[in-house]
Amino acid sequence: MELTPEMKAAIGKSTDTTTYEVTSLGIRTFCRAVGYENPLYFDDEAASKAGHPAIIAPPGYLGMPVWAPGAARRQELFKSPFTRNLNGGTAVEPLEHVYAGDVLEAVTTLTNLDILPSKAYGQLMVRKSETIYTRKSDGKVVAKTRGTSLSY
């Protein structure tokens, strides 16, 4: 199988905006899972004393997409013939502090797409994308992430 015209046309296209909520509970759960001990990430008073408007999200924490029953998990820019997915890798570029209470708007662009031969799977679809997170309240780009997704 080779890239179809529909797949080739999807390269460079972007998804609709996804809204992410950054809540104090979300930040604290992230701290608990990853093992953060810096009080600026979970203690309101410590964050306030250091001049921050709320607790800070550790680098890489960009909230959770707003959930609704039956909502699609993610928007697909093309129809993939492969059904199994693996996370190939992630890059994170934090640009601004993100705070509890922030609402972020994320847009993902498909930056590259390839179908490669694979010893393990026969063929492997390699999808590269970049997501830009913008804070709704002040329009600042707070982070960029890049991802590699593998399908077979």
Binding site: F30, R32, V34, Y36, L86, G88, T90, A91, V92, P94
Partner: protein, 140 residues
Amino acid sequence: MAVDAQTYDKIEVGQEFTLEEATDSQRLVIWAAASGDFYQIHYDDNFAKNNKLPDIIVHGALKGMWVGKILDQIAGTDGWVKEWDVAYRSMDIAREPITVFAKVTGKREENGEKLVDFECGTRKTDGTVTTPGTGTVRLP
């Protein structure tokens, strides 16, 4: 356990920082809640075994965020994690400790910023690096 915040003048090329992380099922469940990744291969033994896995496996994204954490600790409150990337090369079976590492590969000043580059990632107890990556931190 945490590594100490560093300064640009004191940090040395070749210096390595490490953290040991536990990967018990409870921790993976907390990560599932934190990340919204509820795929059962990470917490349901039967589901994992029925998918040809020897046991539940550690979420790739959690390993990626541990790398972010060690860089954040090195940067401290006065520094900044500029960026990091990781590749999920192979899986880590849960309940085995994981070492998160960040080794200094270079120091440079760019646009008035004091930047330190790292080779970073996670490795198993036998030394195999399952999640290789790189990172850059601005230090005071």
